[in-house]
Amino acid sequence: MLDSFEIVSTSGVVLWSKQYVPVGANIVNSLIRDIFIEDIRTSGDPGQKPTYKKEGYTLKWTVAKDLGLIFVAVYQSLVHMTWIDKLLDNVRTLFTGLYSEQLKSKKYSSTEYPFDDYFDRQVQELESKNDGQPATPARRIPTTDTTPPSSSEGESAPAKPSVQGLKVPNRSIHADSSADATPVPTPDASRPASPAAHILQAKGLRPGGKLSRRDRQRAKTASPAPSSGDEGRPTSKGGKKSNTKKNRVWDEFGLADHADDNTQLDYSAPADLDEATSQAVEHVEESTWGKRTGKGEFVLKDLEDEMDEILSKVSAGKESSSNSTNGFVGSSLGAIGGLFRNVVGGKTLTEADLEKPLKGMEDHLLKKNVAREAAVRLCESVKVDLIGAKTNSFTTIETTLRSAMERALTKILTPTTSLDLLRSIQATNRTGRPYILSIVGVNGVGKSTNLSKIAFFLLQNNFRILVVAADTFRSGAVEQLGVHVRNLQELSAREGGHIDLFQRGYGKDAANIAREAVQHATSADPKYDVVLIDTAGRRHNDTRLMSSLEKFGQLAKPDKIFMVGEALVGSDSVAQARNFNASFGSGRGLDGFIISKCDTVGDMVGTLVSMVHATGIPVVFLGTGQHYADLRTLNVSWATTLLMK
């Protein structure tokens, strides 16, 4: 069962909610943090709404971007709810339709939204449509085709019919033929094929009855047995449902008559669905009808009429808007008006308006050395943000897009929590442990150099440092580190800094050396404050070397693992960041990036964005030159300015 359903504004106020079981606020909070703010990607079935799992709950959501609303449904992960997607869509349509005025007003957050009755009706309707009914063809096709481990609807659904005593032949005909007819489960195809959608769409289309030829064909073929007794059906809303039941007649030749009047076809859809369900289901439906003959009948019917109207208006609106774009006069006039408004501002942005500027933006980002994947996704998210938004007065689409992109970049690059290395070292040392920091990365990106820079910085803050040569692989690596340590000893001798090298030569296991070094640092007198571990460079696609990192992480137990990446690297940066982040096993990842050689790329600092974007891990340091002091922390506005230049 549904545990709770909330409608939350992006400003953080719960506008309306229905709690069946109390659900802690932290559940929805973490959805907002992880999905909406941190932008963690979710894997879901195409054509279905993504899910988010937290503490035994599953959350599904949808948004009304233009109004800044989030609709969240929360239910126990153990329960499989097949109709949540539909509920979310319908509730969004209803809520935004019913309260569009209030939601647009300034006082939207302090308005009461008496939505309970509408919601209850929706749940009741969808529940009764879906209970005891086999998962509809469109739902079953994607689940069996893609078979994601998370979704077991495909398994549970076929089991139900037999329990319910469904006529097996009917069902199999239905499922088979429709599976043939809709081989590709595109989101478009799956929508009208779900039962509730059929009904909603049929209702929506009643006045005009406009359905494209192809849709009609599909509806036809998806329904193997359109009823033939439709002509005499009254078109009043109230009578509709009962009629679909009365007129249920199996027509063996139904598939043949394609040239039918389309209104008839519309009605055939729900009829056919009822047909496919069992007597048992019918019985359930009948009982809900019976309820309505009671005292509350009038109210309920009113509500339903209103809901139908809103839902139908929206689907009719979609139809007409897609049609109107074909009109020549309309489009050319619109284009002129659009051009004008583009200059003056106050234009409501559409997908078409944004297409070209977005392409330009994408190219611009690519030129700045942002990996294609990151550039595409950034543009995508900015597009979603902007569609339906109005441009400010005297701003062009391009300017609006730029500032939106600037905001998106700032958000990506800003770390969630503070990255104050000195303070976390102090905190760790207070517990009597040395702080362990290790550096990983591909060959030749400047691991040892950046490690020495960090050592230099820490020496200036009077920490006692042990540098560990855990690169036992590349010849000369230990000596190189030795040179750095000697230099640093000389540099810091006057200020009383202390730095030593810990080395065991070549060929030994790096993980064991690291563990030994940590023990040495803890037992030494006086203790070392910081252990800096240099590791061997490895190609991120070298599975053998990469897999040894997991053991390294377990034995050395670093407080922080930083990956060094070159600012010069192009599209490879994404794969590097991802592979290294995943190489430490579950529950451990990278803690930050050090981007080296930033002085060599000018304003092409796109690698920053690519790496952070791929992993959500922040950039801690930038290497900006050849000297020990050439280490910087990231200034986000500096980076965004360079990127947008």
């Binding site: 909330e6 939350v8 504004s9 992006t10 400003s11 953080g12 106020v13 719960v14 909610s17 606020a25 929805v28 909070n29 907002i32 943090r33 909406f36 703010i37 941190e38 800044g68 300034k106 006082k107 957050s109 302090s110 905001r407 700032t410 958000k411 800003t414 770390p415 969630t416 929590t417 503070s418 104050d420 290395l421 000195l422 303070r423 102090q426 910085f457 200036q460 803050n461 930033c598 340091f621 930038l622 900006t624 280490l631 910087r632 922390t633 990231l634 200034n635 506005s637 500096w638 980076a639």
Partner: protein, 296 residues
């Protein structure tokens, strides 16, 4: 019919006819009144005092805004976008500028109103807040902290809570200080009061006001220390104006202990007042109302 003709309107205006005199007299009398009302209206409109709600995530900013706006709280979740509301002081509390004004004065209700802007507290979304710091109408900043999530002793999460609050507060105060020092050339900005609203006083784990203040001061000292020892950031030295190369420290040259009193040098006055948005027992929001009223 040109303007110099016998019966043009200009001739009529200068003629000694009684109607012309009446019209002229009316204009002369009504114009100042009209101008006065127009100016007065726009003035009052533009200068509605505004306050900014800052503070770490989960401190209770959005809850406070909804409480002040409609008199009752509602459930809230993590905010992603800022939001503003126009709020009227309760009739029992008079704003400072209304102290000697009669309640029947037409400007009375205008001066009882203010705009409160809530901002998201999540680390990634603080850009919204910093954008709003230099608004002209800004009369004060309300920095909300969760007083039940600050004590060092409770360890773990609470310590993080203190650190996060202190870091954010440090950045806000530093921004205010910069606002003051960079505007030195002209007449510096007016004084800006900061209210540290120690929220959730209904919980028994909440620290008392005094401790909230000292804990925050101590932790800001730490933040300032490590910041001063930290690395330069990538923006420094790359900007064109070399004047800004110097890093700026909060308070007295960045030395010794930080105290909120040090901010008075840059016209920033900090008060720490406890209260609670939800929960039956506790001081409520009365004192915060009074603080706001004092600033308008």
């Amino acid at each position: 019919m040109a303007w110099h003709d016998q019966d043009s309107w200009l001739t009529w205006v200068f003629s000694p006819s009684i109607s012309a005199i009446i019209v002229t007299a009316l204009i002369a009398l009504l114009l100042p009144v009209l101008i006065h009302t127009i100016l007065y209206r726009t003035q009052a409109q533009a200068s509605t005092a505004s306050f900014l709600l800052l503070g770490p995530s989960g401190a209770g900013k959005t809850s406070l805004l909804t409480l002040l706006e409609r008199g009752s709280t509602s459930a809230t979740h993590t905010s992603q976008t800022p939001s503003s509301a126009e709020i009227t002081l309760p009739s029992t509390i008079k704003s400072a500028s209304n102290e000697y004004r009669s309640e029947n004065d037409s400007s009375f209700s205008g001066a009882q109103r203010f705009i409160l802007t809530d901002t998201p507290g999540h680390g990634k979304l603080r850009q919204f807040a910093s954008d709003k710091l230099d608004a002209k109408t800004l009369k004060g900043i309300i920095f909300v902290v969760d007083a039940a999530n600050l004590s060092k002793e409770s360890g773990g999460r609470a310590e993080e809570g203190l650190t996060e609050a202190a870091e954010y507060l440090h950045d806000v105060l530093l921004a205010l200080q910069k606002r003051y020092t960079s505007a030195k050339t002209s007449k510096g900005p007016k004084e800006l009061p900061v209210l540290i609203a120690a929220n959730k006083f209904d919980l028994f784990t909440a620290l008392p006001e005094k401790l909230v203040k000292t804990e925050l001061e101590k932790e800001i000292t730490n933040v300032r220390n490590t910041k001063s020892k930290g690395l330069l950031d990538s923006g420094i030295g790359t900007s064109d104006d070399a004047v800004e190369e110097e890093k700026e420290w909060l308070g007295d040259g960045g030395e010794g202990k930080f105290e909120f009193r040090q901010m008075e040098e840059v016209n920033v006055f900090v008060d720490v007042i406890g209260g609670n948005v939800t929960g039956a027992d506790g001081p409520g929001v009365g004192k915060w109302w009074e603080w706001i009223a004092k600033q308008i």
